[in-house]
Point group: C2
Chain length 275, copies 2
C-alpha cells in the first residue's frame, strides 16, 4: 500500500483516504464520492479495529460483508480498498498506543474510556500505510472528527481532514452500520434522536441560549420513549466541547446524543451556529 | 519543511533525517555524513525536546550553540537544518503522547520513566515534519534505537532506521554533548565505562557466558572508582533486551551502562556476538 501511494505521490497525484470499518452504507458511499471530488485517487480502508472496542462491546458481532463492501467502494469510485488483517495491523510484539488528553475525556470518552486511544492509534497507522493528502470522515462521529484533528495537529501529519455531513434515512435516522441491530419496533422509535436535535434547533431559533434548557429539551424529547437509556444528551461548543452556561451569538455549538434502544447503542449530533 | 520534503520526494530524491538535540560533536557529524551517503538529501533536525527530560534533569542547562551547529551541519553535508521552537512543536493545546510498553520499561526506562515516551512522541513529529526515507541514529543511545525501531514498526512509518557506530574520543570515552559537564578530573576517570565494556569483551573471548559473571565484571570495573554511582551495568540480548541466565553461541548481546560521575550522567554500550 505504501509503495502504491508513494508512486501516486511521485506522479503529482493527490490521494484521499476514507477510513471505514466496512459494512458500507450510503454515508460511507458519500464519503468515497467526496474523496474522488477532493483528490485524484481514493483509497478506502476497511478494518474493524479491535482496539477501539471494549471487551463488553460488539467487536465480534460487528457486521461484515467483504464482497458487498468491495463492490460498493468500487461503484462509488474508490480506486483501492485497503483491507489489512488484524495480524498485519497488530502483529505479535505490537506495544504502542497514542493517548490524547482533553477532547477524548468527555461524552463518548466517559462511556468508552479506551475507545479514542484505539481510534487515534489505528488512524495514525492507516495514515502511514496509505500516505494520503486528505482524509474524509463523517460528521456522524462528531467527537471522533475532533480527536482526529487533534491527532493530525499534535503529530504534524501532512494530511488535511475533511468532515462530510451525516447521511440520514428518509425519516431522519442517521445511517450507521449498527442500525442492522435494531428490531423493527426499535427502528421506528430510533427517529427520536433526530427529533430531539430538531426540537433544540427550533428552540434556539426562538431564542433559547441557556445550556441547561437546551440539554433538558434533548433529554425530555428522548425520554418520551420510556424504554430509552441515555448515555449523554448534551450541548457544547463545537470546536472545544467546552460547556459554558450560556451560548452566545456567533458561537458554533454541537448537540451530542448517545443512547440505547434495546441492546443497540445509537449516536447522533447536530452543529448549529447561534444567530 | 513538509513542502520542501514533498517536493524532493516528488523529484524521486531520497531523504535521510538526522534527529539531534544540537551541540553537535563528531558523533553527530558522522551521522550527517552517513545520511548523505545513504540518501540524496540530508535534513538535520536540531531540537532540545523538553518532554524527554524529567523535571529534575538538565533541560534548561543542556548545552546549546546554534551558530556552531549550523556550520558543522553544513560543512558535513547537511542540506537542511530544521530547528523548530518549543512553541511550534508543542503549541498551546498540545495534548498527545505515544506510549510504548515493553522495550521502554527496562534500563533507561527505570531511571527515566517518561523519557522514551517523550522520545517516541517527538520522533513521530519529526518524521511527519521531514518525511524522510531514512533516519540515522547513533548506537550510543542503544535502547533508544530499539524504541525507535518499535515505533516505526508499530505505526507503519515509511522510514528505514539506520544505526551508526558510536564515535569515541582517543581514550575511548563515547562522544556526548553532555561530556562538557565533566570536570577535568572526572573527564579522565570517565574512560572507566569503555574499560568495563572491553573487560567483558575479553572475558567473553575467554569463554564467559553467564550473565551474572558478565554483569559482575561490568560493576567491579566501574566500582574501581569508589565515587562512581551506577544506575545500571548489565547485559541483555541485543534485539529484545531479554536477560537469560546464560548467553549462547550465535547470540548477539548488548552491554548497557549508565552511571554518574559527579553530577554528570554517562551512558555507553557495546554489542557483542558470542562466537
Amino acid at each position: 500500500m505504501q509503495n502504491i501511494s508513494n508512486e501516486m505521490r511521485k506522479s503529482y497525484k493527490t490521494i484521499a483516504v476514507v477510513p471505514t470499518m466496512g459494512y458500507l452504507h450510503e454515508g460511507h458511499c458519500s464519503l468515497i464520492r467526496l474523496a474522488k471530488e477532493t483528490a485524484d485517487f481514493c483509497i478506502t480502508t476497511l478494518f474493524v479495529n479491535p482496539t477501539q472496542f471494549a471487551p463488553n462491546e460488539d467487536f465480534e458481532k460487528y457486521p461484515r460483508d467483504f464482497e458487498r463492501d468491495f463492490n460498493l467502494a468500487k461503484t462509488n469510485g474508490s480506486d483501492f480498498l485497503f483491507n489489512p488483517s488484524v495480524e498485519e495491523m497488530y502483529p505479535s510484539g505490537f506495544s504502542s498506543e497514542i493517548k490524547i488528553k482533553g477532547i477524548t475525556e468527555k461524552f463518548e470518552g466517559k462511556f468508552r474510556p479506551l475507545h479514542f486511544n484505539g481510534v487515534a492509534t489505528v488512524v495514525a497507522k492507516l495514515f502511514n500505510a496509505t500516505l494520503p493528502d486528505f482524509a474524509i470522515f463523517g460528521q456522524k462521529d462528531y467527537q471522533q472528527t475532533l480527536v482526529i484533528k487533534q491527532l493530525v495537529k499534535d503529530f504534524n501529519f501532512p494530511v488535511s481532514i475533511v468532515v462530510a455531513p451525516t447521511i440520514r434515512e428518509h425519516d431522519g435516522l442517521a445511517m450507521s452500520s449498527r442500525n442492522v441491530y435494531l428490531s423493527t419496533t426499535d427502528r421506528n422509535k430510533a427517529t427520536i434522536l433526530y427529533k430531539a436535535l430538531n426540537n433544540v434547533k427550533e428552540a434556539i431559533k426562538k431564542g433559547t441560549r441557556k445550556k441547561e434548557e437546551i440539554d433538558d429539551i434533548l433529554k425530555d424529547t428522548l425520554l418520551s420513549l420510556p424504554e430509552i437509556q441515555i448515555d449523554y444528551a448534551s450541548s457544547a461548543l463545537a470546536d472545544s466541547l467546552n460547556e459554558p452556561d450560556y451560548f452566545e451569538s456567533g458561537q458554533k455549538i454541537v448537540l451530542l446524543l448517545a443512547c440505547k434502544l434495546g441492546k443497540t447503542r445509537l449516536i447522533d449530533n447536530m452543529v448549529i451556529t447561534i444567530d
